[in-house]
Amino acid sequence: MTGHGRAFGAGPAGSRAVPLIAGRGFEGSLVAFASLLRHLGVGVSTAEVMDAVAALRVVGLSDRAQVKTALQAVLVKDLSDVPLYSALFDAFFVPPEERRRQIARHAQRAAAAREGSDRAAQDLRLGDRPLSLEERHRRTYAGLSEEERQRIRRFLDRAAEDGRRQPSLEAIVDRVVRRYLEDRSPLSAGRPHREPVPLGDESLDACLSEACLTLAEKEEGLRFVDLESVDEAQLPQVEALIRRLSRRLATMLSRRYRLSRRRPAIDIRRTIRKNIGTGGVPFRLSHRSKKVRKPRLLLVNDVSGSMARYAAFVTMFLYGLTGPAGRVEVFIFSEDLERVTDRLTSGSGFRETMRWLMGGTRQWGRGTNLGQALRTLFRDHEELLTPSTVVLVLSDTKTLAVDEAVGRLAEAGSRVRDILWLNPVPAAEWERVPTVAAFRGVARMYECSTVQHLERILHEVMLRGTPGGPLRG
């Protein structure tokens, strides 16, 4: 290690050289970098970090581009992670003065957020009494559009007047506002990106936040943007991105793809042909392999509140994947289930899909009842629940009749190949949502709020049959 001290620690201090984090040294910096990558969902193993250290020993730190390329080769094993890696690298390996600026900018953003939250606390009152809300509700409120905030304030003003006559209303008002905000949480509109969960280290948090901001600004960063917050200007790009990704995945699928697992059934013809060299003595057996059938996908979309937007994006992706004659069934639910497969066509844009999903539906703007929806699914569409079906439930788990829903989902699970739950709520917040734990017992749950998440999950489902092991991201 001492031999490298001169070459790497001090290195030529040119503008292309890579600065390390003060006080952490060569290896410490890399370990910190890897932990940030992990924090953002890129799976980096300890062995890979050791490889990264070894790689930098041979490449040196004098050329920034080389270091970036070398670390990428060692640490990033999934191409779709490259934009994220790149943004993080640029934000992480910066000179101390730039780091100080990062910290200052981060503090500014945090202060702005606090201010919003304080204002929310002032606004969200019933007369003189503050509503009983949590910090996340206030954050959500601060992120809403002015129009929506006004709507809530008007509601509160009216409720305050009524409340003077009828004090028992107070508790109901609390619940209504909380529910309203939860429906929008954490998917507040107008936020350009989702702030990463803080690590508690000022300098690393600043770096993370900076990287996520850069990423959101770039076109390729759209993969990582929360679909809820995609605005009008970004919409065409996101549509094109979804089309491109789903077509790419579809091309992979169209290749001849067979089950790799050996089957016990012996293929006599192949066995004899294979053993001609041994005079027909069956030394090596050939087994029949079965052609893998693409799974039939059954998408159950929650379209209550802010979920409808996600539903439209996920549906677009699936249709791009399977084509009009594909094996995909789409349902929407809010209070009850409706089949919308026949209304959809592939290649449609977001607005069309939205219209198709929601046009003529009775589910718009109603409460959420997954239990009832699944009951209807069993009653009317039981034939779709086959061993080749993969059920995708897209919902934030906020539903009435949780117990019934869990029970029915478990029952469905025994009849289909797999049940995947796509949850747009960030995984870090799942702990706080009690219904998440209930549903995780009966379905594999994946965070799915960005195009990146969606592509990964479908990639796994379609190319591996069922997702193997935990998905990253």
Partner: protein
Amino acid sequence: MLTVESLTLPALREAFAADGYVCGDEIIVPVYVSIALGKPLLVEGQPGVGKTEIAKVLSRVFDAPLVRLQCYEGLDENKALYEWNYQKQLLRIQAWGAGAGRPRDGEAGVGSGSSGRSGDLDGAPGPTAVPAVSDLEAEVFSEEFLLERPLLRALRSRRRAVLLIDEIDRTDDEFEAFLFEILSEFQVTIPELGTVVARHTPMVVLTSNRSRELSDALKRRCLLLYIDFPDAEKELRILRNKVPGLREELARQVVLAVRQVRANERVRKKPSVAESIDWARTLVALNWTELDGEALARTLNVILKHKDDLELYADPAEADALRLAAHGEPPAP
């Protein structure tokens, strides 16, 4: 000649350039790190961007034997690692039987099984045959009867070899698992012979077209290099290198036209670098000096391999846009 022990990044860069492989640091650095760390290099990218070529160039610049394992569905250890030469073993056993003066039906029974009964069980071996049989067994399972397949050949090579495992995504999961054991230890155990340890760690290059997701375990053992389509300048250099007799102007037109086709969202199969080289060669062979409408119409099938794509460019408007793009002009409004 390069050696692994004294390898430096500039030397590798220079060697690749001298060999005619046009690339930037985005390719050279991962290749260099993989050799320096003794780690396999997993190369991904569209077909025809030069993934396999990397292994060939390495073999040339290091003057190392290139051992190639072409993967396909159903590839197993027998085809990839080693196999016993059954026919030869059988002949030896028969020769031994004849030499020992054993009865003929006893011979036929050894191993062939065609008579439906085993000579070892049913036939009565002579009293002196027992020690000789164990000798024989040791003999027929000796190196003389071992058929080396690519993986073993790369491990046992006297000189450091370049092991190219091509299109790894075509194999089964089981084979992939079997492979990464070899790739991390660089040794393999043959039950009858013992453990074979690599004399020299081979330089391993794996290629994948991403038709299947490779396991995390395999990816973790490799360095990942993604090769994208080259930029216009690099592609021009590649054409100059690979197509003798290609006039500069025509080369430029080919590059611009190919880039236009690649950028066209409606094209299903994007032409690769290999295809643009083929196209340039075709144009040279047919003595075209300019990529005009007729040249395009007659030779476009070299880069367009899909019926829909050919039909797309049969449309005069698309064809004209392509011709204009080839001449560096903006498409007509």
